[in-house]
Amino acid sequence: MATMKFLCDTKRCIECNGCVTACKNENDSALEWGIQRRRVVTINDGVKGEASISVACMHCSDAPCMAVCPANCFYKTEDGIVLHDKDTCIGCGYCLYACPFGAPQFPQGGAFGARGKMDKCTFCAGGPEENHSDAERQKYGSNRIAEGKLPMCAELCATKSLLAGDAEMVSAIFRERVAYRGSKNAIWG
């Protein structure tokens, strides 16, 4: 049992988009052109104070998407990962309103611009289907957690900016960095 979290160290993020293509690479079977579960957001672009942060589903402890979903398609794994069932999802987009991070993505499902099923970061933990089944790969992508691995985006991060894992471990790594560089240079500012 763990509480899985992401943390992006903005002092290390260089906006190289490695996390974005790592996700595409690993979850290729479930993702199509235009769907990016993870993105890098840059503030103060091109001026002093420029900083970037990689964002995807934060796997909230009290997840707003879960609270508002009318179809009740979300569920939480015992590792604290927020997942959803695409078979139950009605593609209403209510979760997108609720999510503070813009994590839910919607492919164009049909000819009339109807929304398809919602797609979002799974923490590379697949979905409700059987682990590593074809159905899981086609709908949700990889399931690294079942193999004892962490999400691909964090594992491939060029500068070790994006950290993923048990919250305690993630904060221990980050705490050490802050000890070196001082609290003023912790994450923002």
């Binding site: 190289c16 988009n17 996390c19 690479n25 290729d28 235009g34 002093k48 492919p107 590593h132 594992e155």
Partner: protein, 951 residues
């Protein structure tokens, strides 16, 4: 190989783009549909290989160790292969360079196993249509045309454009191929990458390579970037840089016209005007000398002629520097003070420094700054010159260049004799392959060929002005994107004019599609480096052995096989492969090629890196430290990862490799060194050898010249050679003794085979002895031209080269905006390969120009508008405007990875079916202009002019 047919539904909807860049992506993604775009990815009736999703999850998995093929950091990774399909990519957390990390390109590497957009089989253009050929027919036709042209116009009418994507063995065999054909018209993209570095730096202290390693940057207390943006171009290098910043509180200084993604992490950003690097460095040196911050002992012992520099720096007081460079006086002072206060510091530069018509002088200026500060040959110091392509260091080392044989031996008769000896060939036979006449007083065999940057001038120039028999009539473009060369309109004219164009590449590339020909173009599908094996050198001179991940896709063949088959057709295969065994399928045994490289590469110590040692390192990369790069235990105990050259002597001598060049605190047998005695022992009566400085354990405790057989005799060390070594060594020197005996004995006495000299601040064989500021040919500061003029026009090797006649004309009135170019993290080089990778292409869909809000407002241009950008020679491109303060007023910037549009028109119809990249765009080089370094023929892509109007 199983081919399955994909959906036969033809795409009817054009791909919708998501915005002008990743910076805009967030804004627009919400209103764009993925579904329509996705539908068009599938192409019509395209054949493809089985993909990951076709393979059951539990199929047995093979793990291959390979190395990313994007930049020259050399990131390792594990490729998972199931049923012959590259199904997975896992991080190599135990790899000493990258610790599992990758940028966008490395993290998308597995796409190489899909290759949807690849060339599938040999083709030729017949009456405007692509026609499929067999390999046999293709090589026969190409070979026949080569021989016909040779008969009429001589061997120099062929041009061999090579690649920094080849393995070391491929680079070497390509250079050798040109030699066997009998021409020096062979070159590759290092010409337009770091050629000025190689010339400038080698002429300062001996070797033209990165002096330290990426990992060693962790030891720096200051990191000075000039014309370098590793956050986009070498992202994994930032891992080490940010560790230095975190752990040592290292100061980061970025000198760049743009506030780059690297500058976002810097303590100080100096936004100099493009083309003013030399005054900026003199401005720093002015403060250093004025305040006595220079390292006097270091200079006295190890530097020649700092006095000339001191005198020149006096001409650049703060006010003058601010006027020329546009930087604030305070910032230049701060840059100098930060470097002086935080030693050791390292200097990092890339294309922003090299791609200038004064590029060689720029690189010498950076070296001189480090010499003044005493930052050379130490941990955390050095000049960390980041190379671009994954094997551009190896391609340079192996002489895939117009002016040298492998190992920087040059083209003199003695150099040809050395290599003929290595090849086991009769020198007279090698000589007989060349044109024996002389042209404009130059002998082809000993004269540098036509450079990569100007092969088109070799086609278009009148033959009388060329120092060879005839113009270029046929060219191979073997793994090189011609859209990276300036003056694209001339490139297109040259492609049109040649008899035959041959593209050997995994992709059609621009040479295959941007011409207006109806006939005479061949496309031969080459395998990628993941479909073969071989060694690759990273920027830090370390070599790794890539394992083959998958079999060549479709009908592609490996570079080495194509070269070998062609040599068989042309009739010199026996000489070409005399010392190289063939397997039962008549394929060259690659390890034998590596061994032949070892047999010849004494100059740089690429002699100790046997295939067995390299494989041992790669297979045990986890045993090497990710800070020191040394193996504390394991089978390669004591070695430095990848045996960075010089790895002296023979493989049996087990030299550990040299991580830090010129490091006197170590014994030569442990990777120690000193500056190279390359330029003689004295100049105008002044001593060039080191004074009182020597590497640890040297028995000659002062400067000394390079080792020769005679010198060993004088020292009384001759009898340290074995009887067999004496036979080879007699009459030879440390560079030409293929027994390695002279090197072994020198090292036994603690001495460096190449001698022990001072680094020099003046290069008396170059057009400018010391770095001299010269305004760009197309400068916005007309008022500075008379004080800082360029060169007079001159003949460089085989080509006339213009300087003053261009600068004299005032272009600034019509083209008031400065123009410079650079890289995006998602793409690499000419971008043909990376724009064919959907995971990358999705992130950068439009070619754009960055323009300051003030300049945009003057032109009523808003962010995202379509604009026409016209270069100072009239080349026009239709692109998007990105309005951003990232560039300062008066300067514009474009990425150089795009191609496939020209003058606003798409070239998509010219591609063979199913090979059009996901993203096309204008090449910035259509707008970029004339300008070449007089020493290396580097092209000027960093300081030009343009005008922009709303489309």
């Amino acid at each position: 190989m199983q081919l399955t047919r994909k959906s036969n539904a033809a795409p009817t909807v054009e791909k919708k783009t998501l915005g002008i860049s990743r910076r805009q992506f967030m804004k627009q993604a919400g209103i764009t549909s993925g579904g329509i775009a996705a539908a068009s990815l599938l192409g019509t009736g395209m054949m493809r290989r089985a993909e990951a999703k076709d393979v059951p999850h539990d199929a047995p998995t093979e793990i291959k160790r390979t190395v990313c093929s994007a930049c020259a950091v050399g990131c390792g990774l594990y490729a998972e292969v199931q049923n012959g399909v590259w199904t997975g990519q896992e991080p190599a957390f135990d790899h000493p360079f990258n610790n599992g990390g990758h940028c966008a390109k490395g993290a998308a590497l597995r796409e190489h196993g899909h290759g949807e957009k690849r060339l599938k089989y040999p083709m030729k253009l017949v009456d405007g249509k692509w026609k499929k050929l067999s390999w046999e027919q293709a090589l026969n036709e190409v070979g026949d045309q080569m021989l016909d042209i040779r008969k009429e116009s001589g061997p120099d009418s062929l041009y061999f454009m090579g690649s920094a994507k080849f393995s070391n063995e491929g680079c070497y065999m390509y250079r050798k191929f040109a030699a066997m054909w009998g021409t020096n018209n062979v070159d590759h993209s290092a010409r337009i990458c770091h050629s000025t570095t190689v010339a400038g730096v080698a002429n300062t202290w001996g070797y033209g390579a990165q002096t330290n390693s990426f990992n060693d940057i962790q030891n720096a207390n200051a990191i000075f970037f000039i014309g370098a943006n590793p956050a986009e171009a070498h992202p994994v290098a930032m891992q080490h840089i940010l560790i230095a910043k975190e752990k040592n509180n290292a100061k980061l200084i970025v000198v760049d016209p743009r506030f780059s993604r690297t500058a976002a992490h810097a303590d100080l950003h100096c936004d100099l005007r493009p083309g003013t690097d030399i005054p900026f460095i003199y401005g720093m040196l002015w403060h250093i000398f004025e305040n006595g911050w220079e390292d006097k002992t270091f200079i006295q012992e190890r530097v020649f002629e700092m006095e000339s520099i001191r005198a020149e720096a006096k001409k650049f007081p703060p006010k003058e520097v601010a006027n020329i460079t546009g930087c604030r006086e305070e910032d230049v002072y701060q840059a100098a003070k930060l470097m002086a206060d935080n030693r050791p510091g390292t200097v990092v530069w890339c294309m922003g420094g090299t791609q200038h018509h004064v590029g060689n002088a720029n690189t010498r200026a950076y070296c001189i700054l480090q010499l003044a500060l005493g930052n050379m040959g130490v941990k955390g110091g050095g000049t960390n010159i980041f190379r671009g392509h994954d094997n551009v260091q190896g391609a340079t080392d192996l002489g895939l260049l117009f002016d040298t044989l492998p190992g920087y031996y040059g083209l003199k008769t003695g150099s040809w004799k050395h290599w003929s000896h290595v090849w086991d060939l009769d020198f007279d036979w090698v000589k007989s392959r060349f044109d024996q006449n002389s042209y404009l007083g130059r002998i082809p065999m000993n004269t540098p060929g036509i450079p990569c940057s100007r092969w088109h001038d070799g086609v278009l120039e009148t033959p009388e002005k060329l120092a060879q028999k005839d113009r270029i009539r046929m060219a191979f473009f073997w793994g090189q994107s011609v859209n990276t060369e300036t003056r694209q309109r001339d490139v297109r004219d040259a492609l049109d004019k040649m008899d035959t164009v041959v593209v050997v590449d995994p992709f059609p590339t621009m040479a295959g599609v941007m011409h207006r020909r109806k006939n005479g173009v061949y496309l031969l599908p080459a395998a990628t480096q993941f479909e073969t094996e071989g060694s690759v050198s990273n920027s830090g001179r370390s070599q790794q052995w890539r394992e083959k991940v998958i079999e060549p896709l479709f009908e592609s063949k490996t570079d080495l096989e194509i070269m070998y088959r062609l040599s068989q057709k042309l009739g010199f295969a026996d000489e070409y492969t005399k010392r190289i065994a063939k397997d039962e399928k008549d394929v060259l045994v690659i390890e034998d090629i590596t061994r032949e490289i070892n047999r010849g590469m004494w100059t740089i110590g690429m002699s100790g890196q046997s295939p067995e040692r390299l494989k041992l390192h790669t297979q045990n990369w986890g045993t090497f430290s990710n800070t020191t790069l040394e193996a504390l235990g394991g089978p390669a105990k004591g070695d430095t990862y990848g045996l960075p050259w010089p790895c002296w002597g023979t493989p049996e001598q087990k030299h550990p490799g040299t991580q830090i060049l010129y490091n006197t605190s170590r014994h030569v047998l442990e990777g120690g060194g000193n500056f190279r005695a390359r330029f003689g022992v004295e100049y105008k009566g002044k001593n060039l050898l080191a004074e009182g400085s020597f590497s640890k354990g040297a028995e000659i405790q002062d400067g000394y010249p390079e080792f020769t057989a005679d010198m060993l005799k004088q020292l009384g060390w001759w009898d340290d050679l074995t009887a067999e070594e004496k036979v080879e060594a007699e009459g030879r020197n440390w560079k030409t003794d293929v027994s390695g005996g002279i090197q072994r004995v020198a090292m036994k006495h603690g001495c460096i085979p190449y001698g022990n000299a001072k680094a020099r601040c003046i290069v008396w064989t170059f057009p400018d002895e010391i770095p001299i500021h010269r305004e760009p040919l197309y400068t916005p500061r007309r008022d500075l031209v008379s004080k800082y003029p360029t060169y007079d026009d001159m003949q460089v090797h085989r080509l006339p080269t213009l300087y003053k006649s261009i600068q004299e004309k005032d272009s600034a009135a019509k083209y008031p905006l400065g123009l410079t170019s650079g890289r995006l993290v998602e793409y690499e080089g000419g971008g043909e390969e990376s724009r064919c990778n959907p995971w990358l292409a999705e992130l950068q869909q439009e070619m754009f120009v960055e323009i300051n809000p003030a300049d945009a407002a003057d032109r009523a241009i808003r962010d995202g508008d379509t604009v026409w950008l016209e270069g100072a020679e009239g080349g026009r491109i239709k692109i998007k405007a990105m309005v951003t303060p990232r560039v300062k007023v008066g300067v514009t910037w474009m990425p150089y990875h795009f191609a496939g549009h020209m003058h606003g028109e798409s070239l998509a119809a010219n591609y063979p079916e199913g090979t059009v990249p996901y993203v096309l765009g204008e090449s910035c080089n259509t707008a970029l202009t004339y300008g070449y370094d007089p020493v290396t023929q580097m092209q000027e892509t960093k300081a030009s002019l343009c005008q922009i109007v709303k489309a």
